[in-house]
C-alpha cells in the first residue's frame, strides 16, 4: 500500500509511547490541580458577598472566554519576553525560573483553564442542591460549615460527575496544543514522525487511535463512578417498580 506504510509507525513506537506518557501526565496533573483549586473557589463563587464572588467570576470569564492556546502562548512566550522576567532568570531566582520551563508553563495554563470550567460546574451544582436538604441539616443544628462539608459539597460533587466527565475528555484532547511550546506530547510525537517521513496518514491515524483508547478508558471510569455515586438519582429500575 503506497498511501499507508506501517513501518513508519513501528519504527517510531518509542517516540509515540513517550508522547502518550507526556499527554497522560499533562491531562491528569492539570485536572487534579484544577479540581483541588476549583472546590474552595466554587464555594466562594456562590457567596452573596460581591467582594468574594466578583473576582472569581472575572477569572472564569477570562479563562472560559479565550482559547486555551492563546492562554498557553501568553504564559510561555508572552511572559518570557518581559525584560523584568529575563532579569529574574539571569539572577537565578528559582521561583521565576519555573516560567522558563515549558512543562511548568503548560501545566500552569492547563490547570488555570480547567479550574475555571470545573469551578463554574461545581458552583452550578451547589446552587442546585435541593433546599430541603439544607433546611433539614440546619434543623438538625448543624453549623454553616458542617452543612457545607456534610450535605452541600457531597451532593454537589455527585451531581457534577456527568459534566465533569465531559471536561476530562475535552482536557485530554485540548492537551494536544502542548506541542506549540516545544513539549513532545502525543500530537508532538506525531508531528515529528510526520515531518520526518512526510507521512501524515500513518502518524496522525496512530496518534488518533491512541487518543481514542485513552478516551474509552476515561469513559469507562466515569460510567463506573456514576453507577457508584449517582445511583440514588437514577430512575428506579423496572424490577424495582414491579413490587
Amino acid at each position: 500500500m503506497e498511501w499507508f506504510d506501517p513501518s513508519v509507525i513501528s519504527g517510531s513506537l518509542p517516540e509515540f509511547w513517550r508522547g502518550l506518557w507526556m499527554t497522560v501526565q499533562l491531562t491528569v496533573f492539570s485536572l487534579a490541580v484544577g479540581f483541588a483549586l476549583a472546590i474552595p473557589l466554587s464555594v466562594a463563587r456562590v457567596s452573596r458577598n460581591p467582594w468574594v464572588s466578583r473576582p472569581i467570576s472575572a477569572y472564569t470569564y477570562f479563562f472560559r472566554g479565550t482559547p486555551m492556546l492563546v492562554q498557553l502562548l501568553l504564559i510561555y512566550y508572552g511572559v518570557g519576553q518581559s525584560e523584568w522576567m529575563q532579569q529574574q532568570w539571569e539572577s537565578g531566582n528559582s521561583f521565576w525560573l519555573l516560567f522558563r520551563d515549558a512543562y511548568f508553563c503548560t501545566m500552569l495554563a492547563f490547570s488555570l483553564n480547567t479550574c475555571a470550567y470545573q469551578l463554574e460546574m461545581f458552583a452550578g451544582a451547589i446552587r442546585n442542591v435541593p433546599h430541603g436538604e439544607v433546611e433539614a441539616a440546619e434543623a438538625m443544628g448543624m453549623t454553616r460549615y458542617t452543612v457545607l462539608r456534610r450535605i452541600v459539597l457531597p451532593s454537589a460533587l455527585r451531581r457534577a460527575i456527568p459534566p465533569l466527565s465531559n471536561e476530562v475528555i475535552l482536557m485530554l484532547q485540548g492537551s494536544a496544543i502542548a506541542s506549540a511550546v516545544t513539549l513532545v506530547d502525543l500530537t508532538g510525537a506525531a508531528r515529528n514522525v510526520y515531518s520526518r517521513h512526510y507521512a501524515p496518514f500513518e502518524a496522525f491515524i496512530f496518534a488518533g487511535l491512541l487518543y481514542l483508547a485513552v478516551t474509552f478508558v476515561l469513559v469507562g471510569l466515569f460510567r463506573f463512578a456514576e453507577s457508584h455515586w449517582l445511583a440514588h438519582l437514577q430512575p428506579r429500575s423496572a424490577s424495582a417498580q414491579k413490587d
Partner: protein
C-alpha cells in the same frame, strides 16, 4: 537492451511532454516566515528573494504565477495533494525529500550553522554540545542533521514549529544555541537588532562526507511533483536564462551584498 530502449522511449516522451503541456499558470507556494527569502509584507502578501525569483522564472516562462502561503511542516504533503504546483520556499535538496518530490537545479547554496551568544565556547560538534539544549525548526535540514548526529547522545534537541519561536527562546535563555540554515539566521536574526550579541560559532557546515552531504543537501531548489517533469524542465531552463541574462544578480543585489549561489 530492452530496458534501455524503454528508458530512452520514456525520456523522449518526457522531453515531448515539455511542449505537450503548456504551463501558462503556475501555483507557487512559500512559507512567509523566512526573511529575507520569504516573508509576509505589510499588505499581507508574500514577498522576498524566493518570491522575486519565482516571479522572474514565471516571467521568463511567460506564465502567470499565483502564490499560496503554506505552513512549513505541511509543505510537501500539500504539494503532493495538488494544493499547488511548485514549492519556492528555500527548500534544501535532500535525498529524503527526493524520495517524495523532484527538485530543479539549485537556485542558491546554503550551509547550516550554530548560533549562540558571542564568545561562548560552542561549536557544531557533538563533543562541544553535550548537556546543551539546541533549538531547530521541525522538519528542516538542521532538524534532520541534529536528530541524526546529536539527539539522544547527550544533546537535547528542542523542536519548534516556526524559526521565529526558536529565536525568542534563544533570547530568553530557554535554549543554549540554535542550529539553523545560515541564510535564514542571517536575514531573520543576526542582522536584526534582536540578534545583537549573537553570532555564528564554529564553522559553516556543508557536509564533511557523502553521508553528511546527503542530510544537509545539495543546495536550495524548487520542488515539483515527480510526474511534472515538464514543469521541472521548464523551470530549469528559465533558471539558466535568468542566471545568464543578469536578472538573477539584480534580484540577489536587492537582498545580499555577497554571492549566495556558490559554485
Amino acid at each position: 537492451m530492452k530496458k534501455m530502449l524503454l528508458l530512452s522511449a520514456l525520456l523522449a516522451l518526457s522531453a515531448a511532454g515539455v511542449s505537450a503541456k503548456d504551463w501558462t499558470e503556475i501555483r507557487m507556494a512559500s512559507e512567509g516566515a523566512y526573511p529575507p527569502f520569504n516573508e509576509i509584507g505589510a499588505n499581507g502578501a508574500l514577498k522576498g528573494f524566493d518570491i522575486d525569483i519565482g516571479n522572474a522564472l514565471c516571467a521568463e516562462m511567460k506564465a502567470k504565477c499565483t502564490w499560496v502561503k503554506q505552513e512549513w511542516d505541511g509543505m510537501i504533503p500539500a504539494l503532493m495533494a495538488r494544493k499547488f504546483d511548485a514549492i519556492v520556499a528555500s527548500m534544501s535538496i535532500t535525498e529524503e525529500r527526493k524520495a517524495k518530490v523532484d527538485f530543479t537545479n539549485k537556485y542558491y547554496a546554503s550551509p547550516v550553522v550554530l548560533i549562540a551568544k558571542n564568545g561562548l565556547p560552542l561549536r557544531p560538534e557533538l563533543a562541544s554540545l553535550k548537556g546543551k539544549k539546541v533549538a531547530v525548526q521541525r522538519g528542516t535540514v538542521s532538524d534532520n542533521f541534529a536528530t541524526k548526529y546529536w539527539d539522544g547522545k547527550g544533546v537535547e534537541v528542542v523542536r519548534y514549529g516556526k524559526q521565529d519561536e526558536a529565536y525568542l527562546d534563544l533570547k530568553s535563555g530557554r535554549v543554549d544555541a540554535i542550529f539553523a540554515d545560515y541564510w535564514e539566521a542571517y536575514g531573520g536574526f543576526l542582522t536584526k537588532p534582536e540578534g545583537a550579541g549573537y553570532s555564528v560559532l564554529g564553522e559553516q557546515l556543508y557536509g564533511k562526507n557523502a553521508e553528511e552531504r546527503a542530510v544537509i543537501g545539495e543546495g536550495i531548489g524548487i520542488a515539483v511533483r515527480k510526474k511534472d517533469q515538464d514543469l521541472k524542465a521548464q523551470l530549469n531552463k528559465a533558471l539558466a536564462a535568468v542566471r545568464a541574462n543578469g536578472k538573477y544578480e539584480e534580484i540577489r543585489k536587492k537582498y545580499f551584498t555577497m554571492d549566495i549561489y556558490g559554485n
